[in-house]
């Protein structure tokens, strides 16, 4: 059988676009992320979403749907301020941290989500940097393994500015492997202080639970917001917490 250029061109179009149409009909053709990560296929986590499949195109809202990690927690972890943290796209992180000298981006979010949710994540051979704020939240949860804590100590970076960042580049320095993650701000309980900060300052979970009379809420939740939402008087709670902070602050 001999083909001319015209018959080859026609065949090329039929095979190429016919193949695309066939794959589309079979549900194989996807040019965009479905915003739903693949799930673990075996082991105790079978059926749960795999953090390793989080893409740059995902928003914090997409991650919240699959992993049940609040967009507010992610925003606080990666120091993103703005009206709608749920709409923040993960791929924008790299540009924000461009001048930090460390790649903080999609991989950092994957690691954060994995450690936050307790899902497996292989860091072998990878250098995944984490902002100090994210590490503080993870440590505050108190359920990391010694290996995970060691990894975070090795790859946590301290930002040049303690203030929240919005769409601006920041400078950062790595935390030395042997240096524990430390906090540089004042140890004063304010309206914006979160439970995560209290724990990272050294206040124990038991003491906090005793003072609020309930299990420790999400570490990203502000003490004042929690008090308002649960009928507690912040003006009473604040000095009580401050006393505990003063007892343990370095």
């Amino acid at each position: 059988m001999t083909l001319t250029s015209k018959s080859l061109a026609v065949t090329l179009f039929i095979v190429l676009f016919g193949g695309i149409a066939f794959s589309s009909a079979m549900g194989w053709w996807a040019t965009e992320s479905t915003k739903v990560p693949v799930t673990f296929t075996d082991g105790v986590f079978a059926g749960q979403a795999n953090p390793a499949d989080i893409r740059g195109s995902y928003t914090f809202g997409d991650i919240a749907k699959s992993f049940n990690v609040s967009p507010d927690v992610l925003a606080q972890a990666f120091e993103i301020t703005g009206e709608e943290p749920a709409a923040f796209a993960v791929k924008e992180l790299e540009a924000i941290y461009l001048d930090s000298g460390f790649e903080i981006g999609t991989a950092s979010v994957r690691l954060f989500v994995a450690y936050y949710t307790g899902l497996p994540f292989d860091t072998t051979g990878q250098e995944i940097y984490m902002p100090q704020t994210a590490t503080k939240i993870l440590l505050a949860k108190g359920d990391l393994t010694p290996d995970q804590i060691t990894y975070l100590e090795q790859y946590t970076v301290t930002l040049g500015e303690a203030a929240p960042i919005e769409q601006q580049n920041v400078e950062a320095t790595p935390v030395a492997a042997e240096t524990p993650v430390s906090i540089t701000e004042e140890y004063v309980v304010k309206g914006k202080t979160t439970f995560g900060e209290l724990i990272s300052w050294g206040v124990s979970q038991d003491v906090i639970e005793q003072l609020i009379g309930a299990p420790l809420p999400d570490p990203a939740v502000g003490v004042k917001d929690y008090a308002s939402a649960n009928g507690l008087n912040f003006e009473t709670l604040k000095p009580a917490l401050q006393v505990e902070v003063d007892k343990v602050k370095p």
């Binding site: 095979v15 190429l16 996807a30 040019t31």
Partner: protein, 284 residues
């Protein structure tokens, strides 16, 4: 036919495979449209009837790059989508049937190199595409397999598209974007500059996808075949082959560099009918 000294003489003028040019233009414009639409979609103003596919989503080489990661973990490399795997499969099927027809007819980077090459052809005429000494050229032709191995290795070990930072194809369609690494822009610049002297330099010496598809030349169903009985041995097929394959010395072209452009066939430069054909059968 022209009349010379009272006799009507048939004059052969080398033709080009015009339908290939049309197909090349089609795919070039299609990729431009996809890239522009993707940029517009990111700012919320995409073309309604087009999916906001990224350049990576419609690149079949992405399917090759992610194969190891996909096989090992079921995941795709960052920025790669299912469509890349589908396209890689379709292009492989096309290549098994017709050779690297993707390179010669579809790939927009190959097309742009050809366009730049027209300038070189005008400037250097017969010297164009014959600057590189044959011995050096023969060695350099295998460089792209090294590039392929390197790309597959770094992608498998990193789980990211490391090659994007060196990919002239990505740079060509994103040169205005901050996503493009300077190294990719430099390689694109070098490729286009070399295209003035050498036809398709990236395809010949460095393209890792060309390396993959080129292997199908060894066993493809339809091949370029030359009839020794009717061949006038004028060498036209070899002289005008963009990949410098000595077609006039072969009965079946199994060269790993053939891009199935059909420019050597009797439909184009070969002046004798049914002498160089693109066929699955044998020739007399």
């Amino acid at each position: 036919m022209v009349t010379l000294f009272g006799k009507r003489i048939r004059v052969f003028r080398p033709r080009s495979i015009w339908v290939r040019k049309v197909v090349q233009w089609f795919f070039f414009l299609l990729v431009v449209l996809i890239v522009v639409n993707h940029s517009l979609a990111e700012s919320g103003a995409g073309i309604p009837f087009l999916a906001s596919a990224s350049l990576h989503a419609v690149c079949p080489f992405g399917g090759v790059e992610t194969l190891y990661t996909f096989a090992a973990s079921g995941l795709l490399v960052k920025k790669i989508h299912d469509s890349s795997l589908v396209l890689a499969g379709i292009v492989l099927l096309l290549s098994v049937l017709f050779g690297p027809v993707f390179c010669g007819w579809v790939c927009p980077l190959g097309t742009v190199q050809e366009w730049v090459g027209k300038l070189g052809r005008k400037l250097f005429r017969r010297r164009y595409n014959h600057f590189v000494p044959a011995r050096l050229d023969n060695v350099l032709r295998y460089l792209r397999y090294g590039v392929l191995v390197w790309v597959l290795y770094v992608t498998a070990t990193s789980g990211t598209l490391i090659f994007e930072a060196y990919d002239p194809y990505f740079a060509l369609f994103n040169f205005w974007s901050t996503e493009v690494a300077w190294s990719a822009l430099v390689i694109l610049g070098v490729t286009l500059t070399l295209s003035i002297f050498v036809e398709r330099p990236w395809c010949k010496y460095a393209c890792p996808y060309g390396a993959v598809l080129g292997i199908t030349n060894l066993f493809r169903v339809f091949s370029i075949k030359r009839s020794e009985t009717t061949c006038k041995a004028d060498g036209a097929c070899s002289i005008l082959c963009p990949m410098n394959i000595p077609v006039d010395t072969k009965t079946v072209v199994r060269d790993h560099q053939c891009i199935s452009c059909l420019e050597c066939t009797s439909e184009a430069v070969c002046p004798v009918a049914r002498t160089v054909l693109f066929t699955s059968g044998g020739l007399k």
